[in-house]
């Protein structure tokens, strides 16, 4: 990974020196470049905020949707299946447009850009979270439930203290994956006007006309954010594993 980043920087540096590139638009040594660069980076606030808020909601909703999917009752399972199948078959961009432009006509409530984005991203992601949780919970051996029953734990305590802590350890890689996916998908909310990384980059392109340089910086911004997030998830995974096996 380190080598890949090094190679990429070398390539960009060499290419930038060839004269066809105009790195001056984002050169932090010039006043304009500095202003442009910080303008682009300020978008990180909304990119991160919307991703974190949306994933927090979708994890909770996903868990709530997953539980009836584990029931013996076929109607409860039906609710789970219907939700998952319907929600995950709507493209995220379509959902964003529908929530922002369509929903107000239906309900009369107009969400602002941020919350419309959160709503659409969380709704879409919750279907995937539900499947992840269901798989994670199903992977816990039956003996764990039986042991919990034999010490008189009720359903809520069994889930809270015995099943979910183990299931979450197992699905942590998948949850990390979803977080990365969420950060990337949040770029779609720029189409309704959220001032995120992508939106700011596009606005800068309109005034500076240097698409290649600006979008390259945009790629690097996402890359850096996601590398940090991935490292964080891996660190958490390791820590939780150590606590079990010591």
């Amino acid at each position: 990974m380190k080598r890949a980043i090094l190679l990429l920087s070398v390539f960009l540096f060499v290419a930038g020196c060839s004269g066809n590139w105009g790195w001056y638009v984002v050169d932090p040594r010039t006043p304009t470049g500095w202003i442009n660069l910080t303008f682009m980076m300020r978008g990180a606030y909304y990119t991160l905020a919307i991703s974190v808020v949306a994933i927090s909601i979708s994890v909770v909703v996903g868990l709530i949707i997953a539980l009836p999917g584990l029931s013996k009752n076929k109607y409860l399972r039906g609710i789970n299946r219907t939700y998952v199948e319907v929600v995950r078959s709507v493209p995220i961009l379509v959902l964003i447009l529908w929530v922002f432009y369509g929903l107000p006509e239906l309900t009369g409530i107009r969400l602002n850009v941020f919350w419309a984005g959160v709503f659409a991203l969380a709704l879409s992601d919750s279907a995937f979270q539900a499947e992840i949780f269901r798989a994670g919970i199903q992977s816990i051996r039956r003996g764990q439930y039986e042991a919990a029953q034999s010490i008189s734990l009720n359903y809520v305590d069994t889930m809270r203290f015995v099943i979910l802590p183990q299931a979450i350890r197992r699905i942590l890689p998948a949850l990390g994956n979803q977080l990365v996916y969420m950060i990337k998908m949040s770029s779609l909310v720029s189409v309704i006007g959220l001032q995120d990384l992508t939106r700011n980059a596009r606005e800068l392109v309109v005034t500076e006309y240097r698409t290649l340089e600006i979008y390259t910086i945009l790629v690097l911004e996402y890359l850096v954010i996601i590398l940090i997030v991935s490292a964080g998830v891996r660190w958490l995974e390791r820590r939780l594993q150590e606590s079990e096996r010591g």
């Binding site: 034999s150 010490i151 015995v162 606590s243």
Partner: protein, 250 residues
């Protein structure tokens, strides 16, 4: 032997149980008195595990009735709570909670189900860890312990709920041979304390030493019930004799 005249603590009446078309239990009846130690043996697939799992409602039965200290087992919440608080269970695979330290495995039930305070639950847990002779392992995780130690933790976890009846489902079958004795020693000590014990096991030496009565099952039926000495010296049924010949002669 501590037989008393009061009503049996466990009453199994004409119980049948099916897994699909397979009849796991066929019209089984058995009464067990308070303080009695009963060992159930028989070939694999004979229904012994299923029978004791019906006693704490990990399995439900289709026909017949099971009573535990006078309460009939049904799916009603009150019935389930009653039986689960009266009956503890030790599993073949230990089923410890791998993400919790030994001490937390032990305190979880008392704190959440019995409403004990953190300190009271800890004190109780340490008391039972002393009893199974591994108090020094309290802060470790289950997977850091040997199989024998894990099973002793599991026994202590059951004891922390202070049940009236303790069920053992082949408690030594998943253990390496050199660890079997440390678990059996704990069970022998328990048997001496007056706990009602129902044990499914192939450890006939243990059975001879602690059991008041022996139950032999085959094909989902109880074939023979006898006082321990009579069971080993003069088994009545042919099937039981054949089984004992097989497992005692090596």
């Amino acid at each position: 032997m501590p037989f008393d005249d009061s009503a049996p603590i466990i009453e199994i009446k004409n119980v049948s149980k099916y897994f699909g078309d397979f009849k796991a239990l066929a019209d089984v009846s058995l009464e067990i008195s308070s303080g009695e130690r009963v060992v159930i043996c028989g070939p694999s697939g004979s229904g012994k595990s299923t029978l004791i799992r019906c006693v704490n409602r990990l399995e439900s039965h289709e026909e017949g009735h099971v009573f535990v200290s006078g309460t009939e087992l049904t799916d009603a919440r009150a019935s389930l709570m009653k039986v689960r608080s009266d009956v503890g269970m030790v599993f073949q695979q230990f089923n410890l909670f791998p993400h919790l330290k030994v001490i937390d495995n032990l305190t979880l039930g008392p704190r959440r189900a019995l409403g004990l305070s953190e300190e009271a639950a800890r004190a109780r847990a340490m008391e039972y860890l002393e009893r199974v002779q591994i108090p020094e392992q309290a802060e470790k995780y289950p997977l850091q312990l040997s199989g024998g130690q894990q099973q002793r933790v599991a026994i202590a976890r059951s004891l922390c709920m202070e049940p009236r009846i303790l069920l053992f489902d082949e408690p030594t079958s998943a253990l390496d041979p050199e660890m079997i004795n440390e678990v059996l020693d704990v069970m022998v000590e328990l048997a001496g304390s007056g706990m009602t014990m129902v044990v499914v096991t192939h450890e006939m030496g243990f059975a001879r030493r602690v059991a008041d009565r022996m139950v032999f099952m085959d094909g989902g039926e109880i074939v023979e019930v006898a006082e321990t000495e009579a069971f080993f010296t003069a088994p009545k049924s042919r099937r039981c004799r054949a089984f004992l010949d097989k497992i005692l002669n090596h």
